[in-house]
């Protein structure tokens, strides 16, 4: 299903946006999307479409996107699933470049109705050459444009930085964003792909390769549509921008649940994991590790070797760090006699081993 996309810039830096399915009910995504975009500092034009209301919170609403005379780059779609095919057709007729379908109720339901609906929108998107993020997606956020095209207004608190977060699941995208905020890391782009109708991880990676703001990429993946293309792209981009992956749905029994979430088969985890390693992609084993590893890698140049020297003010932490390093099959550095001579001038220990616990020397010496 996936195809190469030279440029997805209209998703991340649109000049004009329409929210289709706008609402004045504060609990509905059709309301929250308006809040998100208004509070993001978006400098372009944005339009609202609602079949029911002429005004929403004081902003005029059109009854259909086809009634809008001006060009539109991006549509954010939050209408009920059964209305999405009609809306996609209208977006196509209007020559809109990209659509974010936030609506759920498609392949992820795991029933015939949802799958048929998704096939319909896939066919229509293909006819009109419409690029789609979703359906069943959180949307995208770009603090550099700026635009928050999600239904989570408080994500506007994200600061600019070098980490691109790409999450299949919207909720996990929000969770990764929260962790980045807690760790004081800035974000270059946030994308949740949902069911990956015609834009998958492989396409977003291509886009991020050329995105100057992006220094590292953190991914939450359940399944990949085109694993071969994904690995080719990821393996290439990883040489310039480290890619850190959390792979969910590792257990074989999870295929049915992952299927019923975003409609992608999870595949055999062992094959994924081996492929990640082969292509030099970093696999994280928790979401906080995705953020921690990205933070560490963005703070320093690539390591010249694989030997680690550990300096702590407390022995236990040094042991735990050294232990993790050795368990990953990597060697600890051996201090040269020159290093030992120099260090022994400021630390009064008989043994200068790695890991080196400088302990109370911190308070005893002003030389440190």
């Amino acid at each position: 299903m996936a195809f190469l996309l030279d440029d997805l810039q209209f998703f991340f830096s649109p000049k004009s946006v329409v929210i289709i399915g706008a609402s004045d009910n504060a609990y509905k995504p059709g309301f929250l999307c308006i809040e998100s975009i208004k509070k993001s500092g978006f400098k372009g034009k944005f339009y609202l479409v609602s079949p029911k209301k002429d005004f929403i919170n004081g902003i005029p609403a059109f009854s259909s996107v086809t009634e809008i005379s001006k060009d539109i780059d991006l549509a954010i779609i939050v209408v009920p699933a059964k209305n999405v095919p009609r809306v996609i057709k209208e977006c196509g007729e209007k020559n809109i470049k990209g659509a974010i379908i936030i609506s759920s109720g498609f392949k992820e339901l795991g029933d015939d109705f949802g799958s048929r609906l998704e096939q319909q929108i896939s066919k229509l998107a293909s006819i009109y050459g419409l690029k789609v993020i979703g359906p069943n997606a959180l949307g995208i956020l770009n603090p550099y444009h700026p635009i928050n095209a999600t239904f989570v207004p408080h994500l506007n608190m994200i600061k600019k930085g070098g980490l691109a977060i790409v999450s299949q699941s919207g909720g996990m995208g929000v969770h990764l964003s929260h962790l980045a905020i807690l760790e004081d890391i800035g974000i270059s782009k946030l994308v949740s792909l949902g069911n990956q109708l015609n834009i998958g991880f492989e396409d977003i990676l291509n886009f991020l390769e050329k995105d100057h703001a992006t220094k590292a990429v953190g991914l939450y993946i359940e399944g990949i549509n085109n694993p071969r293309l994904f690995l080719e792209n990821a393996g290439r981009i990883n040489l310039k921008k480290p890619i850190i992956i959390f792979k969910a749905a590792k257990n074989k029994k999870m295929n049915s649940s992952a299927l019923s979430h975003t409609g992608a088969m999870a595949g055999d985890y062992k094959i994924y994991s081996a492929a990640f390693r082969q292509f030099g992609i970093i696999e994280a084993y928790s979401l906080i590790d995705v953020i921690d590893i990205a933070k560490g890698l963005m703070m320093q140049p690539p390591a010249q070797g694989n030997r680690l020297a550990i300096l702590t003010a407390q022995a236990g932490g040094g042991i735990v760090m050294a232990d993790s390093w050795l368990n990953a099959g990597l060697p600890l550095a051996k201090f040269s006699s020159h290093t030992i001579d120099e260090v022994s001038k400021i630390i009064m220990f008989s043994n200068l081993n790695n890991p080196l616990d400088i302990s109370w020397s911190i308070s005893d010496s002003h030389k440190l």
Copy 2:
């Protein structure tokens, strides 16, 4: 080396305490220990011993513990290592019941001098029947007495609760305490054992078995002096109070580092890990997991079975949870037709699978 101790109450609820090696230098442990105990709300008597000063911060100081006429339960020793044997001898002559040796410079140095010193104090402690926590220990904290017999005054912010933290390393004991504070868990006791001269994990577990405040036990272990006795005690106590262990120094190459930290050989991790499982002791793979697992277990009664039902407002989190459960070899619950009938009255989904993502139903229904 380890022996059974019926009662270590004088460590945790002493009526009188002496700090030997008290100092007025704010960067020295001999100063920080005074701060800790003063600010802990300790209701008993405490004395200071300093060979150099008659008064420390306005409190009179004795030149030796033998000069104090009143009975003393507990000595906190912070003198330089080479003076510890003499001080231990004086504590023995004074019939003090227990000593916490915070001073380092013993077996953990990995040299002859430190090992010989430790043998000396071991012999003296044995002659006088003196119970020793340490050397090279952080000390103990009991918010119920209250007493903070460590050199970390800010640990007084720990609140009362059900978790006992027992850490070989002082620094990791502090770290576990910080994590408990962040997770808003109360502590029943904090102990750092250091080099385990004549009190080891096996003895502290025996004490905690009878301690009413303790509901769960979290351990940071590098090595155990008497593994057989430890497992017997832990396996028995675990039936009443869950024991969660983080085992450091897992890698065989770490034995030398663990040795040079608290002087205990780390042993073969695989044997430890298999034994923990056999005795029903929970092994955590990070320090935050120790705290999270303890928190979860203290919040609910023991599970009746091993099947898990997962209810989330967002599919990704449900998948990650279910995945972890299945990867641990445990089954997910299958919803009965009765459950499905009842749930379908409040949630409008065609498929009610486990994990169940209730998604926008949260906002759509007030029945939830």
